[in-house]
């Protein structure tokens, strides 16, 4: 397990995340882990009691978690959204843009390189769930 990276000011969530099935079956858990084949929308009725959602990336090539993250943010989830597993330097930027604000990579990432990657692109083309304005908005006022 590599070092965690967080882009949040609140205290990290201490409770371990439970599986989606366990979460839906019990009422008191506040942290859940989503596997790639699980439907993020199953969590939408419960977002107000969740403080951590961990999205699993068993392989970096499996991009389902990007959609899961956006769906959660689009529904107004503001708690910690963590990408866990095969998370590499070159995935951090698209993950941030899809709403992840916490990372639990298998292998520790070079923080300086992460920083450089996050500031490399001054502009983005799409509106997503981050606060970056798409260039079409900058162009059109």
């Amino acid at each position: 397990m590599g070092d965690a990276i967080r882009f949040r000011d609140d205290e990290p969530h201490e409770e371990p995340a439970v599986t989606l099935d366990a979460f839906l079956g019990q009422s008191n858990a506040t942290a859940v882990r989503l596997e790639p084949d699980e439907d993020a929308r199953a969590l939408l009725p419960h977002l107000d009691r969740l403080s951590l959602i961990e999205v699993a990336f068993p392989k970096f090539r499996d991009g389902r978690g990007y959609s899961a993250a956006r769906i959660l943010r689009e529904a107004g989830y503001t708690g910690e959204l963590r990408a866990a597993g095969d998370v590499l330097l070159d995935q951090i930027v698209p993950m941030r843009r899809c709403g992840f604000d916490s990372f639990a990579p298998e292998t520790t990432l070079d923080l300086e390189a992460v920083e450089r990657a996050l500031y490399r692109y001054d502009y983005v083309y799409q509106k997503t769930v981050d606060i970056r304005p798409p260039v079409w908005r900058i162009r059109n006022g």
Binding site: P36, R61, G63, R120, Y121, Y125
Partner: protein, 544 residues
């Protein structure tokens, strides 16, 4: 043509520096090949049989003369003095050094070009009608929409690790010159009864090992909903496309398994949600882009008559020149299929010449076609003879467009590490067999397409005659199929029987075309005759 502003330029330049660092990390050993491979593939850099190959994006196949000259310059400086135009309207260099790749990208960035997303499981270069903006039959120029898609898909964070690659084509005519129904998404711009512009949306077509024709998912998508609907189509695919088997990971398999109706239902449901997010740019952004594609300042009052007294010129005009929407003008297609040549290859000198001609005679514009030819889209008819003379002197005036020697061929086993058999030598032998232009013209339109493996880069499924190279116990073997079409009458070719050796397949093609000559009725193409009479007489002639 579209021109980058500071934002577009900044994004492309940042990509060059990002890739430079990635390549340096690989050269220094910080990255293993396994780690580097997905990174280089996101930027079109492959390791092929003989060297690295770099695929350059040519968005919707449109180039300025300055860009074409840059392609020539790179061929001279970093490669072996030529490039290969591909069936996705892109250009590939076959002999690239990893240590030069970032410098090449930096040079490309100076002319608003890049290699972004020319490979990888992401949204690839958007393709379009090579006659866009010039075709007499178009509703509107499809390229502003293609450019909007280019920007939307560039580094789209949600769709960077799709189940598999994703190809989108946009046209705006009834005649389909871009094979839209054989794309992951095919868009046909049309007007509804109220005269409003919108899209017919086909999703789930493709070639490869499981060819499928895309079903219609939306008959009329209002332009205001364009990008939201694309998001919805992609999100459903990203979430539910198969990831257990790379051969079943394309969207066509998802739609085949779900059924078009269920896929449509899911997309429409997702769309209702996505539409609330404000992802569609304002109309002003489309207008900004569309202004770059305004018609050039055509000269008016030009004559439509051409002096065709030179028979060689006349045959080139008949075969390679198409009607333009502007009186006194025409569309010229430059064949990159000289008899015995390599389909789609052009030397740096030929690229420079084509750039010069575009600058002088075609309002600075060129197009790349999916059939691996080059188009000068806006030529005054009075200049046709001069252009033809210059092309002829450079070996670029072969009057064979859409004839049997205008063959689409993938690089095949001469270059490609995925190939099972060579494609180019088969193309050369067929072109030589039918070298007589009179014979080719008598045979009429024959779309012959050759792939060196099941991935079908040579579009063999869409060939009136398709050839697929396979590996049979270590020997190259060629399967022949008939009846495909990538045009508006889209169909998928069917294998006719046991395969052939290289020479055998050339003989079989000749027998098929001779059989067609005997059976055809007035005005019938090979494809029409085949569709009318069926396979039996051809099979009898070939195997009988």
């Amino acid at each position: 043509m579209y021109k980058y502003d500071e934002y577009d330029q900044s994004i492309v330049e940042a990509r060059v520096e990002e890739f430079r660092e990635q390549a340096e990390r690989r050269l220094s050993g910080e990255l293993s090949e396994d780690q580097f491979k997905p990174l280089r593939l996101m930027n079109g850099l492959y390791l092929q049989l003989h060297a690295y190959m770099l695929r350059i994006a040519i968005p919707y196949g449109t180039l300025s003369s300055r860009q074409m000259r840059m392609l020539a310059h790179i061929a001279r400086k970093y490669d072996r003095d030529y490039g290969h135009f591909t069936t996705r309207q892109n250009l590939q260099y076959n002999w690239i050094k990893l240590e030069d790749a970032a410098d090449i990208l930096a040079e490309l960035a100076t002319v608003e070009m890049h290699a972004i997303q020319t490979s990888g499981n992401c949204i690839r270069n958007i393709s379009s009608d090579q006659f866009a903006g010039a075709a007499a039959d178009e509703v509107t120029d499809p390229r502003p929409w293609a450019e909007l898609l280019r920007q939307w898909s560039t580094f789209h964070p949600e769709f960077t690790y799709l189940p598999r690659k994703f190809k989108i084509a946009v046209i705006a005519s009834e005649e389909d010159r871009a094979a839209v129904k054989l794309h992951d998404i095919g868009l046909q711009i049309r007007r509804n009864e109220a005269g409003e512009v919108g899209f017919r949306v086909f999703v789930g077509g493709g070639m490869g090992r499981t060819p499928m024709i895309a079903p219609l998912i939306r008959d009329f998508l209002p332009k205001e909903d364009f990008l939201s609907y694309m998001e919805a189509c992609l999100r459903v695919y990203n979430r539910y496309g198969r990831r257990d088997n790379m051969y079943k990971a394309r969207i066509k398999i998802l739609i085949h398994e779900l059924g078009a109706d269920e896929y449509r239902r899911q997309v429409e449901e997702e769309f209702l949600h996505v539409k609330t997010l404000g992802l569609d740019p304002p109309a002003g952004e489309f207008e900004r882009i569309a202004a770059f594609f305004a018609p050039p300042a055509y000269e008016t009052g030009l004559p439509d008559e051409i002096d065709l007294s030179d028979p060689d010129f006349a045959s080139w005009v008949e075969q390679n020149v198409h009607a333009h929407k502007q009186p006194g003008h025409a569309i010229v297609t430059i064949s990159l299929k000289p008899v015995g040549g390599i389909p789609g290859d052009a030397s740096s000198a030929q690229m420079d010449l084509m750039a010069d001609l575009a600058e002088q005679y075609s309002f600075d514009e060129l197009r790349v076609t999916h059939a691996q030819n080059i188009v000068l889209p806006h030529v005054a008819k009075r200049d046709l003879h001069t252009i033809w003379k210059k092309l002829d002197a450079a070996g670029l005036a072969t009057p064979n467009l859409d004839l049997v020697s205008d063959i689409i061929a993938c690089p095949g086993l001469d270059y490609c590490s995925l190939a099972n058999a060579r494609s180019i030598p088969v193309a050369q032998k067929i072109a030589q067999r039918f070298a007589s232009l009179d014979r080719q013209r008598d045979l009429g339109e024959v779309k012959l397409k050759i792939s060196g493996c099941i991935n079908a880069c040579g579009h063999h499924h869409a060939g009136h005659i398709g050839i697929l190279g396979v590996d049979r116990k270590g020997e190259e073997n060629y399967q022949l199929s008939f009846g495909g079409s990538g045009a508006e009458d889209t169909s998928i070719a069917k294998i006719i029987g046991p395969g052939f050796s290289e020479d055998g397949v050339v003989d079989a093609v000749e027998k098929a075309l001779e059989t067609y000559r005997e059976l055809r009725t007035e005005g019938e193409r090979f494809l029409d005759t085949y569709r009318r009479v069926g396979l039996a007489p051809f099979k009898e002639a070939i195997y009988g």
